[in-house]
Amino acid sequence: MATVSVRNVWKEYGAQVVLENVRLEIADHEFVTIIGASGCGKTTFLKMLLGMEQPTRGQILIDGKPIRPEPDPDRGVVFQRYSSFPHLTVLENVMLGLELKAARFAGRLFGGRRRATREAALAMLESVGLAHARDRYPAQLSGGMQQRMSIAQAVICKPKILLLDEPFGALDPGVTADMHQLILRLWAENRMTIFMVSHDIQESFQLGTRLLTFDKLRHNPQSPEAYGASVTYDLKLARRSRDEIDSPKLAVGA
């Protein structure tokens, strides 16, 4: 279960208003895609969901409780780059979250518990199609493989919410299609709410059950920073039946 309420959230840096009065109610297991021009505050919005940044006004609730003001395991993340650990092999990268949870002091597991974790991580790698690359280091992987690993690394910790910051932005078009299938499958298999920032409109319509666009509602030509962006479109998307998704959201509204 993970519903998200965004209540009258503002984000200001000094006189510059980035986001103004964002109000949203997101249902459990929604796949929210977010698009907008660059600099429209969509990444800032994601950072606030993540706990990297705090709203200047308003609050964000997960399951009715205010979010912690720092990143935590409830909210997994995949960035466009740098979200894996270069000193760990693919397998170790995926095991890391489980090890951190189980071994609070040592941060790593040994013996039987390590073997069990290894099995779980291997199963996860199998599921994202990376089992053959388990002993390689991230630098030895292609961009698509790195993102698969990064997604596996986040999903294996079973976050309530998965945040994706343009995860496929740097990939070749052919690879992107595979990644779409992968993320939809993982979303269906794991009961998590996904927020994905994208600059690809087609991708956003294809993947999302709900699409948000961020833009400025008001403009002041004399001081462009005076007004912030907000949600200008909020579309509920029907999903085509061939997608293997359990309960498509149907209604369309603004």
Binding site: L50, R75, V77, F79, H87, L100, K101, G107, S150, A154
Partner: protein
């Protein structure tokens, strides 16, 4: 004819080119030495290779009449102990400081200005203080090297920690890492190869401070010997000692580089 920038020597030719300057230097020395000795057989400035070899044999393979020790190896051992201890202490201190400064904002606020100031103290200027406070024994010599090396290594490492992509730090937190776990599993493992790089770079100054300390107050050590025999213009001792120090430093550098390649395969650039 291809441009110079596109002409690469082969393996053998590259090796030959590398050795050439060494042979040239040796050749120049031998000629100069012969010219001087022809003029004055008692000349001490440029002893012949034969004289150097004889003296070296005395120092390295025969016990000193007074102390009963083989001076060359006793000096080497004394110096290596000092520099080894100093580098071990410097590394530990530097890693500890760098992790605190790089990871914990409060520790950064507390320690960063102090570190940046201490790093500016010329170590040789505090050498008298060290001798007064710590005495003339080993401690003051090791302390001098630590003061000379640790702050620079610590600053370099702290910089490396802050250079870790923010995405990594955030990701680790979303995987449930506490501050301690973040240090243990994310920061430290990525710091080790940087520590090796930093040590390689500071090896030169470590030797500098070692020899400075030994030259002033010591009864043993490579630097002590050089400065002792300087009074007798004993170039036949000084030259092999300098060559030996250089060789030790080169070996240390090669060993550190090999360790980095072997132990931290992930940090090697792709070929």
């Amino acid at each position: 004819m291809r441009r110079l920038i596109n002409q690469h020597p082969g393996r053998a030719a590259g090796l030959a080119l590398g050795v050439l300057p060494f042979i040239a230097l040796l050749f120049v020395y031998v000629i100069a030495s012969q010219l001087r000795l022809a003029e004055n057989a008692g000349d001490k400035l440029l002893p012949s290779l034969g004289t150097i070899a004889d003296t070296f044999h005395n120092y390295a393979f025969e016990a000193d009449k007074r102390s009963g020790e083989v001076l060359f190896w006793a000096d080497t051992w004394a110096s290596l102990k000092r520099i080894g201890a100093a580098l071990a202490i410097s590394s530990s201190l530097a890693v500890l400081l760098a992790v605190c400064i790089g990871v914990i904002p409060r520790a950064r606020a507390l320690l960063s200005p102090l570190l940046n100031t201490v790093a500016m103290i010329p170590p040789l200027a505090v050498l008298p203080i060290l001798f007064i406070v710590l005495g003339l024994e080993e401690t003051s010599k090791i302390a001098l090297i630590v003061i000379g090396v640790a702050p620079c290594v610590a600053r370099d490492l702290a910089l490396r920690v802050t250079e870790l992509p923010r995405e990594q730090i955030i990701k680790a937190q979303t995987l449930g890492a506490s501050t301690w776990q973040l240090i243990l599993r994310v920061v430290l493992p990525q710091l080790w190869p940087r520590l090796i790089d930093a040590l390689r770079l500071s090896m030169g100054s470590a030797w500098l401070f070692l020899i400075a300390a030994e030259a002033i107050a010591s009864t043993q050590g490579l630097g002590y010997r050089i400065f002792l025999v300087r009074r007798y213009l004993a170039m036949d001792v000084i030259l092999p000692y300098v060559a030996w120090i250089t060789l030790l430093a080169v070996f240390a550098d090669l060993a550190l580089r090999a360790l980095r390649t072997k132990a931290f395969r992930w940090a090697e650039p792709e070929r």
